[in-house]
């Protein structure tokens, strides 16, 4: 697995890298040097999300030790916003004439999938889900079905970027907190809205354990606009033996009650939240899954990321990840130690 995120998750030691924080209400990705991954002539043409997505995908393949990659499945809520915005602007600016097609092509939601397939010669199944807080999770469901159908492995990931223009657009409908908020205090200052984020996260999934396996997914559920009763029922299904609850809490007072429901269902079980690391975005759940797998694999938690953390169990065998996107798409994933 691999992740480019606002934190130092892509290279180096996550246990010693300092916590990146902001009071601009936007956590921006820490981008690596792409040259070791992408040939210079391709790199020049590619926009930011394409570089982040492709590089993370390639790094996760390296990390997995898998030689031949099978199906490629991704999720993205918004695709390459930079390209979409550029093409809209150029249509206006050049009055629909002499347009460069590159931003149009790259704005297509499956453009990163196509690039990955090209680079790794991946001729198997290829699919892209574009459904807000269900984008990554549908990619995950598709991947689990592919493994059940006999695929040797899948490359499964998510990608999202935030542009200045889109940040402004979403601010007009209350996505972000109205006043600058220190990301380190995200959970202490409940108010309408959250802080924005972005990221690219990829996993290589296999149907059976390999020496490089980090964690195993043993439970999974998506709920669309659930009632309180339906959510409680969904969460209760995964109640057994959870050592750690990882939530997508984001400081948004309008939807905090869903997470509070989880609090009451898991009393006394240690809980951590990750949106002060990743920010809020359509595919933040993928970052949450990366973090859960990281914790299960290393049996450690990057202490500098969680100064609020008091005590943890000696061993963490089972983690429940519960996330939702602005109260609409709710997802629960149970991960266990291999």
């Amino acid at each position: 697995m691999a992740a480019i995120s606002p934190q130092a998750t892509f290279e180096g030691d996550v246990f010693s890298a300092p916590l990146v924080h902001t009071d601009s209400n936007l956590l921006t990705c820490m981008e690596p040097d792409y040259k070791p991954f992408i040939p210079a002539n391709s790199l020049r043409r590619m926009t930011r999300l394409l570089k982040m997505g492709l590089t993370t995908a390639l790094q996760s393949i390296r990390d997995s030790g898998v030689e031949a990659i099978g199906p490629i499945v991704t999720g993205t809520g918004k695709g390459s916003l930079q390209d979409t915005e550029k093409f809209i602007r150029e249509i206006e600016q050049y009055k629909e004439t002499a347009l460069n097609p590159t931003p149009f092509i790259q704005s297509t939601y499956n453009s990163v999938n196509g690039l990955i397939a090209l680079q790794v010669k991946g001729t198997a199944y290829n699919n892209t889900f574009v459904h807000r807080g269900f984008s990554f999770e549908n990619a995950l469901l598709d991947s689990m079905m592919l493994l059940a159908e006999g695929a040797p492995n899948t490359l499964t990931g998510a990608l999202e970027e935030m542009t200045a223009e889109h940040f402004y657009i979403k601010s007009r409908i209350g996505f972000w907190k109205p006043t600058p908020t220190d990301s380190r205090q995200l959970y202490d200052q409940l108010s309408p809205g959250s802080i924005a984020g972005e990221g690219a996260t990829f996993f290589v999934l296999t149907g059976t354990p390999t020496p490089n396996s980090k964690a195993v997914i043993t439970g999974f559920r998506m709920l669309y606009k659930p009632t309180a009763a339906k959510l409680a029922e969904g969460l209760a299904e995964f109640k057994e033996g959870i050592d750690l609850v990882l939530t997508g809490r984001n400081g948004d007072s309008r939807y905090e009650h869903f997470y509070q429901q989880a609090d009451t269902l898991f009393p006394g079980i240690p809980q951590l939240s990750f949106k002060h690391l990743s920010g809020e975005h359509d595919t933040a759940g993928a970052f949450g899954m990366w973090l859960a797998a990281q914790v299960l694999h290393t049996q450690q938690i990057p202490a500098q990321w969680f100064p609020m953390l008091k005590a943890l169990p000696a061993t963490i065998n089972r983690v429940l990840l519960y996330n939702h996107f602005y109260g609409e798409q709710h997802t629960m994933i149970v991960l266990e130690r291999v």
Binding site: G77, F87, I88, I105, L115, L118, H131
Partner: protein
């Protein structure tokens, strides 16, 4: 063994009709939906033909059966219109009566409406009701509006793989049924014409100024279209217990990537060949069993060579009857796979082979040419439907006559 998957309902709206019956009638009459746009604000209004649905958004509200005018995009309205018919045809008055999933497909979501107000949206000095369109730009907006209007609350998803999007939606739904997640799925796609996509394809020099001519030596590109189509898929056990009317069986499918080029297919049609071959193998049908192929046939220079070569490679000297229905509907991008899947069912039900309009001259690269006149009274038992897209995405579906 995984369950068989049946098609038990269909609904659609395209430039040639507001429902399945109207589409069938226009196909029979060989009447194209191509013309010029009334609703897109573009300098190409009188230059580039499109296959536009002949209704304003106001008229679509009543077709879609809703009164509200706030934040519903043309994409949503087209989708809702097709969805209502699909459910009605399947005899579903309330989707809550059985666990039912919804897999939608879209390439640019609500761009059709947001592009008209985008520069107001990004201008802090402007404010107004247009702000209701802010969150309609993405692809999930139309899916959720449709889901919420008709009451889907089980699994929902939106797929975007360019021109193969709704073929992949059908495949994903069928796989969820076969793996036992849900007994019934409604799958398809919706697409509205936009200045964004028209300029996109035009910038790629892929749009014909004449009515498109698939598989013709003189073809110069595609014409865009708009529309929506949904198919109700049911597991065999559910369909039997529910006493559903079975329209056809969804027997095979394959999604394969070419890994050749971001926007062009390989000259020999490797992806198309793989997709058709694997879909057919899954269906348990032989090459000889295929009676008709509804080809992707966009009429771009590259697609038709590549797809034609793939047909010749797979079927040798016995390429089945084939045609592209894009000259009727235009290329409806994310909706195309589902629209053409319905045409495949109609071909089977009615014993028809639809003509490939505007074809005159055989391509020099190929030994084959499409069907050019409506054929009636044909025994059609198995149809392959192809959808190929940007990013090397190839999808083939096999739809078969229901034989108990």
């Amino acid at each position: 063994m995984a369950e068989r998957v049946f098609i038990t309902g269909m609904g659609m709206i395209t430039a040639i009709g507001d429902n399945v019956a109207e589409n069938l009638e226009q196909l029979r009459q060989q009447r194209s939906g191509l013309g010029y746009t009334s609703y897109i604000d573009t300098i190409y209004k009188q230059v580039l033909p499109v296959a536009e649905v002949k209704h304003s958004n106001d008229a679509l509200f009543s077709l879609a059966g809703i009164t509200s005018h706030e934040g519903y995009t043309r994409t949503t309205l087209l989708g809702l219109t097709a969805m209502r018919e699909a459910l009605q045809q399947a005899g579903i008055t309330d989707v809550q009566t059985a666990p039912t999933g919804f897999i939608n497909a879209s390439t640019v979501g609500g761009m059709c409406d947001t592009e008209k107000v985008y520069f107001d949206i990004v201008d802090p000095a402007k404010s107004g009701t247009f702000l209701q369109y802010i969150d309609t730009l993405d692809c999930a907006d139309c899916t959720q509006r449709i889901a919420d209007t008709v009451g889907f609350s089980e699994h929902i998803a939106t797929i975007s793989t360019a021109c193969s999007s709704s073929a992949n939606a059908l495949m994903f739904g069928a796989r969820m049924i076969r793996q036992g997640f849900l007994p019934r799925m409604v799958c398809g796609g919706t697409e509205a014409l936009t200045r964004f996509t028209l300029n996109g394809f035009n910038s790629l020099k892929n749009v014909d100024k004449q009515f498109c001519r698939p598989f013709d030596q003189q073809r110069t590109g595609l014409n865009l279209g708009e529309g929506a189509a949904y198919l109700v898929l049911e597991s065999e056990s559910f369909a039997r217990a529910n006493n559903s009317r079975i329209l056809a069986e969804f027997t095979g499918y394959c999604n394969a990537n070419e890994a050749f080029h971001p926007t062009s297919p390989s000259p020999d049609g490797d992806g198309a060949y793989e997709a058709m071959k694997a879909a057919l193998a899954m269906s348990g049908r032989t090459l000889e069993d295929v009676d008709y192929i509804n080809v992707h046939g966009t009429a771009t220079l590259n697609n038709d060579v590549s797809e034609g070569k793939a047909l010749e490679r797979l079927f040798g000297n016995n390429v089945p009857l084939f045609s592209s229905t894009k000259p009727f509907t235009g290329h409806t991008l994310a909706a195309a796979g589902a629209i053409e899947a319905i045409y495949a069912v109609l071909a089977i039900q009615q014993g028809l082979i639809f003509p490939n309009l505007n074809f005159k001259e055989k391509m020099e690269e190929l030994n084959i040419s499409p069907v050019t006149e409506l054929m009636e009274g044909v025994s059609v038992n198995n149809v392959i439907s192809n959808s190929f897209g940007f990013g090397g995405n190839n999808a083939s579906l096999v739809i078969s006559k229901y034989e108990g």
